[in-house]
């Protein structure tokens, strides 16, 4: 049986751990608010850019010179999976969920005979996926150095991806990240980035008829022409989608971390209660046995 001193040390160490998890939970809560705020602020932009593209896409489909970023290059042999995870752990199953989704995608694609290339954002996803698929990883970016997520990061990543597409390094690009629903739930999802039109037909098809703005029969003027606008707009759309994904991820990471740390704090509390009980029992047992010794010693006299 553990001595009193041992028990005291255990209790102290658990208390320290509890302090740490509690602090982490509070930090995560503060960061979550900021991340949610940022995600909300970026929403108008990404929504509008989506609308604009679906408008343009509707008028461009059928035209022979539609850009490849919009309609694809006609092949689907090589698939680039962009997998965004967090850079830090201690946030419950957050990273594992994204990685699991990514692995499902990889397995499904490889069974269909496609070549898979991986573009990893975030250290945790890299740690897990590099072990399994190190020959498929073409790029790895860590955002650990960035203090704040800003559009420039997404732009850099987006430009890299568009560049790879133009060099013909892949045919289809999918983005895997965790969609932030609320603090408790984040859903890992896979979204098609290139060709852009695949995503539009998947998601926006039912609402496409109503999505177009009511022009009262007027005709859109384009300056420069439609193709020129699309050429600039499509890469920008990719940047925006990546940016949105990163923001959702960071909100999700913080939400997940908050829940995980809340659980850890509670567990530490339970453990302290249990240890204190054992400590008191042991102490009382010791006192009792000392008393018995004294009394029986006195009786013997």
């Amino acid at each position: 049986m553990a001595s009193l001193k041992d028990l005291q040390n255990r209790i102290k160490s658990v208390k320290n751990t509890q302090k740490i998890t509690k602090a982490m939970q509070m930090v995560a809560a503060a960061k979550l608010r900021k991340a949610q705020d940022a995600a909300e602020k970026s929403r108008p932009y990404s929504e509008r850019i989506g609308n604009v593209i679906s408008n343009l896409a509707a008028s461009m489909t059928g035209a022979g010179d539609a850009p490849e970023l919009l309609v694809g290059n006609g092949k689907s042999d090589t698939v680039l999976l962009v997998i965004a995870t967090a850079d830090r752990g201690l946030c419950g199953g957050f990273n594992t969920n994204i990685v699991r989704k990514a692995r499902e995608e990889i397995v499904a694609l490889e069974q269909a005979g496609k070549t898979v290339k991986l573009f990893l954002i975030g250290k945790k996803g890299y740690d897990q996926l590099n072990r399994l698929y190190d020959d498929r990883v073409v790029e790895y970016i860590s955002l650990k150095e960035e203090r704040k997520l800003h559009a420039g990061i997404a732009q850099r990543i987006g430009e890299q991806i568009t560049g790879m597409f133009e060099r013909g390094e892949f045919d289809i690009c999918k983005l895997v990240f965790a969609e932030f629903q609320n603090v408790m739930t984040q859903n890992a999802v896979a979204k098609t980035l290139i060709p852009a039109i695949a995503d539009l037909t998947e998601d926006a098809a039912p609402e496409a008829e109503t999505a177009g703005p009511d022009l009262d029969g007027a005709i859109y003027t384009y300056e420069p022409d439609e193709a020129g606008i699309l050429r600039v707009l499509l890469p920008r759309n990719i940047n925006t989608q990546i940016f949105t994904a990163l923001l959702e991820n960071s909100a999700g990471e913080m939400g997940s971390k908050m829940t995980a740390m809340d659980n850890a704090t509670r567990n530490a509390g339970d453990m302290i209660d249990k240890l204190t009980l054992t400590f008191n029992r042991t102490r009382q047992a010791q006192i009792t046995s000392e008393l018995i010794e004294i009394i029986s010693g006195a009786e013997a006299l």
Binding site: S42, V52, L56, L215, T221, V232
Partner: protein
């Protein structure tokens, strides 16, 4: 009653402005555009420069870099890659951007160079 134009300026990081105004001057890639209420639907690429918003005789200037102006009967939406109030623009940061743009321009050609030149000119005009 005088019609108002619903104008919103959004960048990926925030919605900077949303409200009803009298007129907005937008630097289009092909030339400056003055947008009044009831403008016909238009979609224009914008170049680096200043957006001027006129409302009740008050002028507000925003700095924008890259993006689109989208005019629908509902109003004008400017989707800017980067946007901020002109008075918030930091001269040092602009200088750094000019240096980067000059460097990038050196190994570009064709249309990309043209776009970069426009960007550079806009930045330089900002400092002047």
């Amino acid at each position: 009653m005088a019609d108002k134009l619903h104008f919103s300026l959004v960048s990926p990081e925030a919605e900077l402005f949303a409200g009803d105004v009298d007129q907005v001057d937008v630097p289009g890639s092909e030339g400056d555009l003055g947008i009044y209420p009831n403008h016909s639907p238009l979609m224009a690429a914008i170049r680096t420069g200043a957006i001027t918003v006129y409302n009740d005789g008050v002028e507000t200037k925003y700095f924008v870099q890259g993006g689109f102006a989208d005019v629908t009967p509902a109003g004008l939406t400017v989707l800017a890659e980067k946007a901020s109030l002109l008075s918030d623009v930091d001269g040092e940061a602009v200088k750094a951007d000019i240096d980067a743009a000059t460097k990038a321009l050196a190994d570009m050609e064709g249309e990309a160079a043209l776009a970069m030149q426009q960007n550079l000119d806009g930045l330089k005009a900002l400092l002047a």
